[in-house]
């Protein structure tokens, strides 16, 4: 069955530290891959997406993600976290053809210590 796993429910980092949020997927073919961020009381904002090509993708707010086909992973990274990055982060996958339904991970809640 198709699935998306975000192994870390909560992550706490200090401001200025580096960040990596994990995302693994189970899919028959290479899907489209997305990271969204949801700040408290807000909707979801698209951080970045991968369709094909260069496996290192740059996004907004200084985030990047790397697609690793051999590991079925699409981990999100940021070299230096700011207090405003505290939010919930969702990884999502979508088929490259067919039903177009997204599958969302359960989310990782990021806490940033001053």
């Amino acid at each position: 069955a198709q699935s998306v796993t975000q192994p870390d429910i909560h992550i706490t980092v200090s401001e200025g530290a580096s960040l990596e949020l994990r995302c693994n997927y189970s899919y028959g073919a290479t899907p489209y891959l997305f990271w969204y961020v949801q700040s408290p009381g807000q909707g979801l904002q698209l951080l970045l997406k991968y369709f094909s090509g260069d496996t290192l993708v740059q996004g907004i707010k200084g985030f990047e993600a790397e697609f690793k086909r051999s590991q079925s992973s699409f981990n999100l990274r940021k070299p230096s976290v700011h207090w405003s990055d505290a939010a919930e982060y969702f990884c999502a996958v979508a088929p490259s053809s067919g039903t177009y339904k997204y599958i969302f991970g359960t989310g990782t809640r990021l806490k940033v210590l001053a």
């Binding site: 489209y32 969204y36 009381g41 909707g43 969302f104 359960t106």
Partner: protein
Amino acid sequence: SAVISQKPSRDICQRGTSLTIQCQVDSQVTMMFWYRQQPGQSLTLIATANQGSEATYESGFVIDKFPISRPNLTFSTLTVSNMSPEDSSIYLCSPRVGETQYFGPGTRLLVL
């Protein structure tokens, strides 16, 4: 991308009543998705609404409870009918632009 607005942004409703949520997009989109996000949870797809056709509902969601309208390519509504406290959630519309879905700010519903 797309600029999406939802009305109302939040509401407190009594059990047994109905609420209609409006979603307006600043561009024409073919596919519109409606999601529910229960407190502390991920997103659950309610239905897919394409203009000119009946909405397609996911398992566990029915048209009588969540009727959807899609009168044109920039607007959609979701009604939560005969509400119970279990319907307390965030409801999000999500238009698809190309291969990417964008999300509205959400409607926060509390049912007493």
